[in-house]
């Protein structure tokens, strides 16, 4: 591709369906194509692998349940990344914030599960998870707002700091004496979020042991709230303005420090809520490293979903398919471990994020040819 093309086409605007559907789709397909090559290199049939994966993720009620369970995680972290992104902040710390959120959820569950039913515990746990998640973001936010420290670096640093902290708390404080694994006791029913059997039953499917639970609905509610926040509130307007230009925001009297901190608190809070799903929904206890990369998947989800809640839900489901399908695939094709998901995830981030404009000039030229004709 000649360099000149790149420049002269950059200012041409394209219709939404190309920008928000076609280009992401092409990028996604490319990511899958390269992943297919990897599968082929290790001596397996990519087509078979894809079939196994899709069947595993979408074939049965249980598979769909798992897919949506994973998607729930990614919706939360995707929203977390997206909210920050709208204000021009790149939050790589959703991973740590979610981890800390787990502590909030667990503390609530541990202290209430003896006394009250789940629906009393839940709202308190939602708040606690969000609060703890926000707490994980507050120092990077403050450093960015007041000291102008690069938030990308500080949030990465905080992933490690929080990980050490949680490690300490689990190993020395919350562990059940005599147990091997550093994890809390199992929550009683009052500290568990009920599964969504009824939802699956509505579609004639059986959830089985899949851990899809009420937090999926909380995630969807958060999507709506984020949409309202970003496009229908004055705060959202200020965030978006700041996200595009700090100097314009200063001119418009939008307080930088306040917006950065509020945005990061919201972002951290959303990440923290992610913990509800695995901690109170699935395993009913707080475990070491339970986030296991969902925070980072949030980056890919947010990029794929173009920072819009609808896009994020779709991208989260896509990654849910990858996670669940990948687990099934690695069971049936033992040479392909679940790490394959990480490869695909990386490629999606690469093509949909860093190389998002690679095909744009070509598409612009084709588009111009078609519209002229």
């Amino acid at each position: 591709m000649p360099r000149e093309d790149f420049m002269s086409t950059a200012s041409v605007s394209l219709p939404n369906w190309i920008n928000y559907a076609l280009i992401p789709l092409i990028n996604l397909m490319l990511a899958f194509l390269v992943s297919g090559v990897v599968v082929w290199v290790i001596g397996e049939n990519p087509y078979e692998a894809l079939k196994l994966m899709l069947a595993g993720a979408l074939g049965r009620g249980e598979g769909i349940g798992f897919t949506l369970f994973y998607a729930t995680n990614f919706i939360f972290t995707g929203l977390s990344v997206a909210v920050a992104y709208h204000a021009g902040l790149f939050n790589i710390g959703s991973e740590g914030q979610a981890y800390l959120g787990g502590l909030g959820a667990a503390l609530v569950a541990l202290s209430l599960d003896h006394y009250v039913p789940w629906y009393v515990t839940m709202p308190v746990a939602v708040c606690a998870a969000a609060l703890f998640g926000a707490a994980g973001a507050v120092i990077p936010a403050w450093l960015q707002a007041k000291r102008n420290s690069h938030i990308v670096i500080t949030t990465i640093m905080f992933n490690y700091i929080i990980s050490s902290l949680m490690n300490y708390v689990l190993v020395h404080v919350l562990i059940v004496p005599g147990k091997m694994a550093p994890e809390t006791r199992t929550f009683l029913e009052g500290g568990q979020l009920p599964k969504l059997d009824w939802l699956m039953a509505m579609f004639g499917l059986k959830l089985g042991p899949a851990p899809l639970n009420v937090s999926f609905l909380i995630a969807l509610v958060m999507c709506v709230l984020v949409w309202v926040l970003i496009w229908h509130t004055k705060l959202g307007y200020e965030m978006r303005t700041l996200g595009i230009s700090r100097s314009v925001a200063a001119y418009a009297g939008i307080p930088y420090v306040k917006i950065v901190i509020i945005t990061m608190l919201i972002s951290g809070g959303l990440a923290g809520m992610m913990a509800l799903n695995p901690v109170m929904g699935a395993s009913a206890r707080l475990q070491v490293e339970f986030v296991s990369g969902a925070g980072f998947v949030g980056i890919a989800v947010s990029l794929m979903g173009r920072n819009h809640p609808i896009g994020i839900v779709l991208a989260a489901i896509l990654f849910g398919v990858l996670y669940q399908g990948g687990a099934e695939l690695s069971f049936d094709m033992p040479t392909i471990t679940r790490d394959m998901i990480m490869v695909i995830q990386g490629l999606v981030i690469l093509f949909a994020g860093a190389l998002e404009y690679m095909f744009r000039p070509t598409i612009v030229r084709i588009y111009q040819k078609i519209t002229r004709a």
Binding site: M7, V152, I161, V343, G346
Partner: protein, 323 residues
């Protein structure tokens, strides 16, 4: 065991643990000084570790291992270059992507090829860079103070260790005493100035990114076939980020980079040593504190509490002449 022996032991450990940081932070130095942020150091190091261990295992030669490590790391840095220089993508996103691909790919390939849970098979001694005993180390060992220091800290390391320490003055010299270095520093500050001086910004930045890949090749190789005798899943374990922290700590200058890496290596060594021991008056210090310390220090630095860290001005911004 007296305090001096403890110190010698910790210093020896410090040196060994700092080496990957030094190579990696220098890699970051070249890339970021040229205006290309490199979060992907971690991934490149990991990929290089896998490649070097695999090649050394297959050929039995540490040199072929090193060459493969460098080659694979270079390939990853070219991807980063293609995304962030040619396509002007977001450099952070590209780096994050590279970390994922490297972590996933090494595990998938390692598992598929060797069936050892993602590990590569252990390497025999002559497929690795083994410790070199410097002349006189044994003789001097009993000389007070300098003897143990020479024998246990300075001597007895592998070739890559000495290369890492050599790489620091070389980097300094390249950066401040050569044409390439002058241009590289310029392009990270004001690519327009470089462009109008008749120098290709793109090619210059590609070269910087390739130097970064080259150096990450060394750090990965050190991890897999210097320090240990195999590749292990995710063996870089965040060292790329620590190196990045060290780079910031050093304010993007070569000699301070060395000091920062040694500091972080020392913290790591101290954490190993202190584990399970108690300090008089304080009691047992949780290892987690030591583990978190480099990150906490970096945040404190970034908060401007110990001087300000100004990254290269054009860092992270793709060079665009025409809108």
């Amino acid at each position: 065991m007296d305090y001096f022996d403890i110190l010698v032991s910790i210093l020896g450990s410090t040196v060994r643990l700092s080496i990957p940081l030094i190579f990696t932070a220098l890699a970051g130095l070249f890339s970021e000084r040229a205006g290309i942020f490199d979060i992907g150091l971690e991934g490149k190091m990991l990929a290089a570790a896998f490649a070097s261990a695999t090649a050394a295992y297959l050929t039995g030669s540490p040199w072929i291992g090193l060459a493969s490590g460098i080659g694979v790391s270079l390939a990853f840095s070219l991807v980063h270059g293609f995304a962030s220089i040619t396509n002007r993508g977001n450099q952070i996103v590209s780096g994050v992507a590279i970390n994922f691909v490297a972590a996933g790919l090494t595990a998938v390939l390692g598992h598929a090829w060797f069936h050892q849970g993602g590990r590569t098979p252990g390497l025999p001694a002559d497929a690795r860079f083994s410790p070199i005993t410097l002349p006189g180390a044994e003789m001097l060992r009993d000389v007070p103070v300098i003897g143990p220091l020479y024998a246990n800290v300075i001597s007895g390391n592998n070739l890559l260790t000495y290369l890492a320490f050599l790489a620091v003055p070389i980097s300094w010299w390249v950066l401040y005493r050569t044409r390439f270095g002058l241009r590289l520093r310029a392009v990270g500050e004001n690519p327009g100035a470089v462009d109008t001086a008749g120098i290709s910004v793109i090619w210059l930045r590609y070269r910087a990114v390739m130097v970064a890949g080259f150096l990450c090749g060394f750090s990965g190789t050190y991890l897999a076939i210097g320090q240990s005798a195999a590749f292990i899943n995710n063996m870089s374990a965040g060292k790329g980020y620590i190196a990045l922290a060290a780079l910031i700590f050093a304010k993007w200058r070569p000699v301070p980079v060395l000091l920062a890496c040694l500091l972080f290596g020392f913290l790591d060594a101290l954490a190993n040593f202190m584990q399970g021991k108690s300090i008089p008056g304080i009691g047992e210090v949780p290892v987690q504190i030591f583990q978190a310390l480099p990150y906490i220090l970096t945040c404190i630095l970034l908060a401007g509490l110990i001087g300000s860290a100004n990254p290269p001005k054009a860092g992270g911004v793709p060079y665009v002449k025409e809108r």
